[in-house]
Subunit: 122 residues, 2 copies
């Protein structure tokens, strides 16, 4: 795992995003045990508390869970992962539409701009 951190945002947030992306991308498999807080912290060269914070935040998403003294695991509940993904997608969409509408753009405008963007980038 490439722990490329900068100081543009809080470290714990960057870590949280990195791990989350890896889970969603399937780098970590369902049920897999994560390294311990201390090991992850050493690996990423951050204070253990910082890693702890990142992980406990991540936990709120339901992507990982804790077993008191055994460690942390990626959820085996694949449907929960799907659910979460859909929920995030819905939120993203609603936020996006709200922002675009505040700019005074119609649905047709939005469709047009999206297709234009896609045409340009590929």
């Amino acid at each position: 795992m490439a722990w490329t951190l900068d100081d543009s945002r809080p470290i714990y947030l960057q870590i949280e995003d990195l791990i989350k992306a890896n889970i969603i991308a399937g780098v970590y498999q369902p049920g897999q045990k994560l390294p311990s807080v201390r090991d992850l912290a050493a690996e990423a060269a951050v204070n253990p508390n910082t890693m702890q914070k990142a992980l406990s935040e991540l936990e709120r998403s339901g992507l990982v869970y804790t077993q008191r003294t055994s460690g942390r695991f990626i959820t085996e509940d694949v449907s929960k992962m799907t659910e979460l993904k859909e929920q995030i997608a819905r939120e993203q969409i609603q936020l996006f539409l709200k922002n675009m509408e505040q700019l005074g753009l119609s649905r047709e405008d939005i469709r047009r701009l999206l297709e234009k963007e896609w045409k340009e980038e590929s």
Copy 2:
């Protein structure tokens, strides 16, 4: 103008967004003079410096400009307004697409989800 502020985000940002929205929505007309920093601050019941910060931030967008001792004005440059609007839209779209792709969603997925959202809300 309804200065409904809460403490979920910095006051100066909320003010900036409110004014920006009003400009884009046409509540403030091109060339129109804004009330003075102190008057706006009184109206919104905030410290003048807070209003000053909101306005100077807003200025960076080019939507308003300052004449040293006369006050602040909405830009007459309508094309600048259009330009800005298009730029913001482009940024919003690119950010949105980046986020959706990180979730592993294809273009077709995105099209489908957007139409679904629209169908549901109207």
